[in-house]
């Protein structure tokens, strides 16, 4: 059986047949993207798949005693595939073919069709899927051979510990006591240079927030609250928390700033540079509203700019206001999207008094953004981090700030290459969600995430058990950290600090001279 036929229309006589929810009330010109096939030989009619599908793509047809499908609703989240106890379900690309056309690709045709039907801005979730050049894949790492010994990280100490915060221009010692005379700016130590990226409560569920907080505590790193405030029940994880102050100022109050380790001013985000966050009212539950300090059920719209920041001088005022508010005990970070002038902007941010600059590249993700913005605005993080590091070095102010890179980090090699390019640490968001079941189906903006990640629905939120989720996240960070130690050992380095900004450990393959120059790396073999 291939249950691909349309759902039967519900009539009075067929009231016992559960009516499926269609995406569109009127016939749509959109073709289904996926085909759900249920192998009759294996299906035991337990209806687990029907219960798990939160997009209305599956229903149980009691009259026929079989699972029916509404394929245009399937987003390929694979929840049903994973949960089926008999592996009876396959989600396949829908076989409807268009005539080949390199310019008018199926996605382009579908976007136009969807807009013709809705007249709106096309929304999407997650990071750009447009295949921007991934420079991580074109950079090779060095390894020690003969003339310098490699190190076995299982036998010798290997350090990934990283201190985030502004470093002094020079160090003065007291000649009598031998102690440090220089006053250090506040520093935050992380055991591994991988932090969890800003994902707000509201965009993700409270259980995901708790899992991120607990995983950060387990692995000695930090999680970022995003712009939606911090639920009071997570205040105990304050030492592992970066709190965000964004243009909407949601959930910002003295205690919120006090519990955190780092305060981050969000200017922009890689997935949607230049526009603010948009949390639809449906996702603003009572608890989200309480945490954000807004009325329940109202849209939480962040203004595109911070309305009190129209210049570096304005930014400096906010940085110092936040430092003053927390008695100069915490580093203040400024997060911007990687854009054409981000190196110069980074220089301005450093001079404005920030301790940390976070750069988020074009592959950065989001819970909801206009598709056209996500796929076209910003620049790749590799270029941004290399040029910002270079610029700050040339100006002699690199030590004043820590650089955090974000936007599409897929594995430990991406992380270590970013550090060799000059980053102090990286943010991971998408990878963390994938660790919790995300399949990059890009339906986050609907609030119907079947994995209970990007939703505030009471029933769907239950799908993430923080006990399990925190362990999965911690496992991911531990795995990556071990791999980074292996790579460092192979390079003959025993501390990540020695690799930071050390681009001689990178070589490029297949890049133009200009690209290699911006990245500051030599051609392989050169």
């Amino acid at each position: 059986m291939t249950s691909t036929r349309q759902a039967p229309a519900t009539t009075q006589a067929e009231a016992h047949v559960q009516a499926p929810a269609y995406s569109y009330p009127m016939p749509s010109y959109l073709k289904p993207r996926f085909r759900v096939e249920i192998e009759d030989r294996r299906c035991i009619r337990c209806q687990c798949c029907v219960e798990q599908c939160s997009f209305g793509a599956l229903f149980f047809d009691q009259r026929r005693n079989e699972v029916g499908t509404v394929e245009q609703n399937c987003v390929a989240c694979h929840r049903c595939v994973v949960f089926c106890p008999t592996q009876a379900i396959s989600v396949l690309r829908h076989p409807v073919e268009y005539r080949e056309n390199a310019h008018w690709r199926p996605e382009v045709i579908e976007d136009i069709t969807r807009q013709a039907e809705t007249g709106g801005v096309l929304l999407t979730g997650m990071g750009s899927d447009k295949g921007w050049t991934c420079y991580w894949d074109k950079l090779c790492l060095n390894a020690s051979q003969v003339t310098n010994p490699s190190i076995d990280p299982l036998r010798e100490p290997m350090e990934l510990r990283t201190y985030l915060g502004s470093k002094p221009d020079r160090v003065e010692l007291d000649p009598k006591s031998g102690g440090l005379r220089t006053r250090l700016a506040p520093q935050v130590m992380v055991e591994t240079p991988i932090l969890f990226s800003a994902m707000s409560y509201g965009a993700v569920s409270i259980n995901v927030h708790e899992a991120l907080a607990r995983a950060a505590a387990m692995t000695g790193t930090l999680f970022n609250t995003g712009e939606g405030g911090l639920h009071p029940k997570l205040y105990s994880y304050g030492k592992n928390t970066i709190v965000q102050v964004a243009s909407g100022r949601f959930g910002v109050h003295p205690e919120y700033l006090d519990v955190a380790s780092i305060i981050e001013i969000k200017i922009g985000q890689g997935a949607k540079p230049g526009i603010g966050g948009h949390l639809p009212g449906e996702k603003v539950s009572d608890d989200v509203a309480f945490t954000r300090m807004i009325p329940s059920g109202t849209d939480a719209l962040s203004p595109a700019p911070q309305h009190d920041i129209y210049s570096i001088e304005d930014l400096s005022q906010l940085i110092h206001a936040l430092k003053e508010a927390t008695n100069y005990t915490k580093p203040v970070s400024v997060k911007i999207a990687a854009v054409h002038n981000s190196a110069a902007i980074a220089s301005g941010i450093a001079r404005a008094g920030a301790d940390i600059i976070a750069l988020d590249g074009i592959r950065g993700s989001t819970g909801a953004a206009p598709k056209i913005i996500r796929d076209n605005l910003g620049i790749p993080i590799e270029m941004a981090i290399a040029s910002a590091d270079e610029r700050l070095r040339k100006e002699g102010i690199r030590q004043r700030v820590s650089l955090i890179a974000a936007g599409g980090f897929r594995n430990s090699a991406d992380v270590i290459k970013a550090i060799a390019l000059g980053a102090d640490a990286v943010y991971i968001g998408t990878a963390a969600l994938i660790a919790l079941g995300c399949t990059e189906c890009q339906a986050c903006y609907t609030g119907r995430c079947a994995w209970g990640l990007t939703t505030t629905d009471e029933k769907l939120t239950k799908r993430q058990n923080p006990d399990i989720a925190a362990q999965r996240l911690a496992n991911l960070l531990e795995g990556w950290s071990h791999e980074m130690k292996e790579m460092l050992g192979a390079m003959g380095i025993n501390a990540l600090e020695s690799l930071r900004g050390n681009r001689l450990h990178l070589r490029s393959v297949g890049l133009t001279q200009q690209e290699a120059d911006v990245l500051g790396v030599l051609q392989a073999g050169a």
């Binding site: 035991i44 337990c46 687990c48 106890p85 029933k459 239950k462 058990n465 399990i468």
Partner: protein, 143 residues
């Protein structure tokens, strides 16, 4: 004694506990064969309760004061004084359904294939009952 406790806040209503409970008590102990080939079909001993967003799975509580044991007229239900498990001996059962009426949780059911009952036996021979082992979200806890 150890019991299977449901964690309502993490139950995702997938019913995998029911599927594997029935499989564990089938002849073949193979999911597909048990459900598609076996006659009589397997019977589950754990029951998902669901209303709106709330759901949880309940099985025999192995009560300290077991009403089913008191009610049983045939001596088929006994409370093990050492382990605390409420054991069922089908060969003694006469199918009078008194225990079904006596059970305050409704977790004893008629075996549809014979004049006997079916109830949770905590999966003898296993470290943890199969429902606890397969629950994908740790919504069933043995403690």
């Amino acid at each position: 004694m150890k019991r299977v406790y449901p964690a309502e806040e993490f139950c995702v209503a997938c019913r995998l506990c029911e599927v594997y409970c029935a499989t564990e008590h089938s002849q073949s102990r193979d999911v597909i064969r048990a459900f598609k080939e076996e006659q009589p079909p397997p019977t589950k001993r754990i029951f998902l309760q669901q209303e709106g967003a709330a759901s949880l799975a309940i099985n025999c509580r192995h009560c300290d004061e077991p009403r089913c044991v008191w009610a049983c007229v045939a001596g088929a239900l006994t409370k093990d004084p050492v382990t605390g498990v409420v054991n069922y001996q089908p060969e003694k059962c006469i199918g009078c359904w008194t225990c079904l009426v006596a059970c305050p949780y409704g977790v004893i059911v008629r075996d549809p294939n014979r004049p006997k009952i079916a109830k949770c036996d905590l999966c003898p021979g296993r470290d943890v009952p199969v429902c606890v082992a397969v629950c994908p979200n740790r919504a069933l806890v043995l403690s």
